[in-house]
Symmetry: C2
Subunit: 218 residues, 2 copies
């Protein structure tokens, strides 16, 4: 009986801790939607979350609390995004490889549009401080890569005996970097802001990849 009470108390503490963590993440999410990460500080976060600064430092390592929260928020946002079925490109019903590529690009575009406010600073700080990333991001990169490999395996007939793992690595890299450019160069001043709409961007990417796959066939 004593043990059960103790367990109950422990659970209550864990639950409160989770609620505090959720409040902190929620506050970071709200702040990022209205201002840049560079001007967010612990004081603002604490006020917005209704949680003491000490509570924030307690949960996220002191020195890099803000960056750690940013990266945790990014991982969480992408996880939740990927759980929604409509957010995934419907690649099974596509009639040809080009259509698959278009759907992948359009789904990525929607994700980048919806989450760029957190993806952009999270990417930059993860490159500045890769040691704060942990294995999560790496696992996500690997999933993206394996997704391309599985997809290309389904269309192996169009690849005329090429090494699918190598082609998948290159095509996956291509998609990520072409979208990274869009994420990084979203200011009107940059020449790398192409100003294309979703459809046109997707068609251009499909042209690159279909052309790339055909080159290898010669």
């Amino acid at each position: 009986m004593g043990l059960l009470v103790e367990k109950g108390a422990k659970k209550a503490v864990q639950k409160r801790s989770q609620i505090t963590r959720d409040k902190i993440m929620q506050a970071m999410d709200e702040l990022l939607q209205v201002e840049s990460f560079e001007v967010i500080n612990i004081a603002k976060l604490s006020t917005t979350a209704g949680v003491s600064a000490a509570s924030i430092y307690q949960r996220f390592e002191n020195k890099d609390a803000l960056i750690s929260i940013l990266i945790a928020l990014y991982i969480e946002k992408v996880r939740v995004w990927n759980e929604v079925a409509q957010n995934q490109p419907d690649v099974q019903s596509a009639e040809n490889l080009r259509e698959v590529l278009l759907r992948i690009a359009l789904a990525a575009w929607r994700q980048f549009e919806a989450l760029s406010y957190v993806m952009r600073p999270a990417y930059l700080y993860s490159r500045l401080r890769p040691e704060l990333l942990g294995g999560h991001w790496q696992a996500q990169e690997k999933r993206a890569l394996h997704g391309f490999e599985a997809m290309l395996n389904q269309w192996a007939g169009e690849l005329a005996g090429r090494n699918i793992a190598q082609v998948a690595a290159m095509v996956s890299y291509f998609y990520n970097m072409m979208f990274l450019g869009k994420l990084m160069h979203n200011d009107a001043q940059s020449s790398w802001n192409l100003g294309l709409g979703a459809e046109e961007f997707a068609e251009n990417l499909a042209d690159f990849v279909m052309g790339y796959l055909e080159q290898g066939r010669r």
Copy 2:
């Protein structure tokens, strides 16, 4: 006569100021080659340059002195790099468009290998603080874009009536982002570290672009 003396004195001051600035830039260059930008501070820079911290703050805006020096160094390094004739790809003697594309990629590879220690942090901080970039970087992006446009105009026969300005924008974006990926994901942990050598990377990029150009022809 008084005026001439004053002019002479002013020139001497300007010269001393330029020497101090050179010392600061040189010190940043040296430090970046042995440690990451995140751990470089004004004290280290001041000691390495043999220049007072006050002199550094006087020349570069107080709050963002380090980032301003980093970006100024990057612009200077690229300017000097581009002035060396052997660093430019020999596109005139190339026999076909594919050969031109290979030479452009190999020249870019050499530049990224030589200057990544300054290009990498400069890129990340310029994306975090685009207002510190000034017009220099933008001018450089525009030059890269116009270079591609001029080159593609020479091979207009292979482009079958496509809008060369649009194709150049896309191909220029493609090259920049594919190399940006290499610059950002140089750690062994990242799935986007392709581990390709210069030749193989260049051949893959040429496959993408030649294929892209051929797609538009259909």
